[in-house]
Amino acid sequence: MDKIIVGLKRVVDYNVRVQVKSDGSGVETDGVKMSINPFDEIALEEALRIKESGAATEVVAVSIGTSESQQQLRTGLAMGADRAILVTVDGDIDPLSIARVFKALADKENAGLVMLGKQAIDGDNSQVAQMLSAIWGRPQATFASGVTIEGDSARVVREVDAGLETVEVDLPAVLSVDLRLNEPRYVKLPDIMKAKKKPLDEVPLADLGIEPGPPIKELKYAAPEGRQRGVTVDDVAGLVAALKDKGLV
């Protein structure tokens, strides 16, 4: 396999407690810490390990977003990606169009693997990998917690509701990765310096011949109904009594 493409989405950091804007137009992002989607960092780590094992020659990091996403791509380059592509769009675009971008780049780069996160933790959609599989006509293995490359195929362990499922897919293929796949490496200062010299190309969406489709429109954001703090009990007898009270034991 020649190349692995990895998707890196810029999202609100997972430690931030997001707040819904008072006008319901979205969530507060001003002055909020932004990071690489945690699942995508794991996808990149796995791609780097596959390359280090000799099963691939190049890792290309891709983000679709505004110029601000350069920041996340630079971090990806510092982790070890060889080069990066930023496909520029004005705002958010729909998952199907994102999948079309990955399809166009997979064709252009002749990629052996496209590695994505199982979900982006902002929209929690969990769609892009499966959509790419459909429009690319290549296998998908989602929610991966184990990946072994065996020549022209990959053996993937998937975290499913019933346990751990193993599938074998022919390459090229698209994977979406789960949290237990690996622990991403830390970026060291010299790597950040080196990353500044690595190529980061910007490509406008229109240059790929993609017209974003009709999105699922977001009409209004609201805060979820909260739960109230309840009572505190002092001992096991009190706990059992409280449960009995509610008819739960």
Binding site: P95, M131, T142, F143, P215, Y221
Partner: protein, 313 residues
């Protein structure tokens, strides 16, 4: 005409309760006529179970040897082949539906509505984003098929007692061989299934070892409960991955959830927000889990659990 097709989830013989929850969601769409499609190598038993679900008009079966295991690249083209008759195609937001439905959507050239919590009208729905920290009202485009997953924890299973017609259908599609099922590793147990159990006992990092996590199983057995865990407990190898509750695990809504030695990170709490009663046992009175707990108890779980197990036995 609102015609809804629901893709049945099953294990080859038994229908998964998630299917009856999708039916409840579909029935919330005004004037919906609801069909279920069963794709399997042997469909008769599963179709018979699906036909019992209230509000269902017809159960369609697509029986092919290739459908023995649920491989999305194999199932999706067959669903797409019969999609033309429907305004909506729904599947559950279990790992089965999450894997399959976006692939179906892309074959039909549409985006997917993920995790429907409530139906506002035929094209408008509410769904959670940002790990449940915001709820967004979304509108699917008029004039194209609505493909969606149903957040199973938000819906009660539809009742039984129906006897819908069952019919085999043709779904001509070329099926790929590029994806092969190898096997499933599952820690089989007799305990109630985590996703449907009325009571769930869950343990976190504080349990400390696989051996000590046994206390969680003991309490669960004393209560007839299912068992859950935090991500930290699964990562540490105390219990298998299918027990994980939360944003990246299972989203559940039992009547009773007992969180033991779990701090209550947002990613965990998002999986239990719809539980009836939340009980938390934690030695740190500042632990965020207490902010959402109906009944809280501050103390050392290793002292509390043996006593509690004895008391409820």
């Amino acid at each position: 005409m609102t015609k809804v097709l629901i893709v049945a989830e099953h294990d080859g013989s038994a229908l998964n309760p998630s299917t009856a929850k999708c039916v409840s969601c579909a029935a919330a769409i005004d004037g919906a006529e609801i069909d279920i499609v069963v794709l399997a190598a042997a469909t008769a038993d599963i179709a018979a179970q699906a036909a019992e679900i209230d509000s269902v008009s017809r159960v369609l079966t697509i029986e092919r040897a290739e459908n023995e295991k649920s491989i999305t690249a194999v199932l999706a083209p067959q669903i797409a082949a019969i999609a033309g008759d429907y305004s909506h195609i729904l599947g559950p937001s279990t790992t089965f539906g999450k894997d399959l439905m976006p692939h179906v959507a892309a074959l039909l050239g549409v985006n997917q509505v993920s995790d429907i919590m409530t139906v506002e009208n035929s094209h408008t729905f509410k769904r959670p984003v940002y790990a449940g920290n915001a709820i967004v009202t979304v509108e699917a485009p008029e004039g194209s098929t609505v493909v969606a997953t149903v957040r199973v924890a938000s819906w009660q299973a539809a009742n039984g007692g129906n006897s819908a017609a069952i019919a085999a259908v043709d779904a001509p599609a070329e099926l790929p061989t590029h994806t092969r099922y190898i096997g499933l590793e599952s820690a089989a147990s007799d305990r109630p299934d985590l996703q449907t159990a009325a009571r769930v006992v869950a343990g976190g990092r504080a349990l400390g070892s696989e051996e000590q996590f046994g206390l969680i199983y003991q309490l669960a057995d004393a209560l007839g409960a299912g068992v859950g865990a935090s991500r930290a407990a699964v990562d540490a190898g105390f219990c298998p991955n299918e027990l994980q509750v939360g944003q990246t695990g299972k989203i559940i809504a039992p009547d009773l959830y007992i969180a033991i030695g779990i701090s209550g990170a947002i990613q965990h709490v998002t999986g239990i927000k719809d539980a009836g009663t939340i009980v938390a046992i934690n030695k740190d009175e500042e632990a965020p889990i207490f902010e959402v707990a109906d009944i809280g108890m501050v103390g050392d779980l290793f002292q509390i659990l043996p006593e509690l197990i004895a008391a409820v036995k």
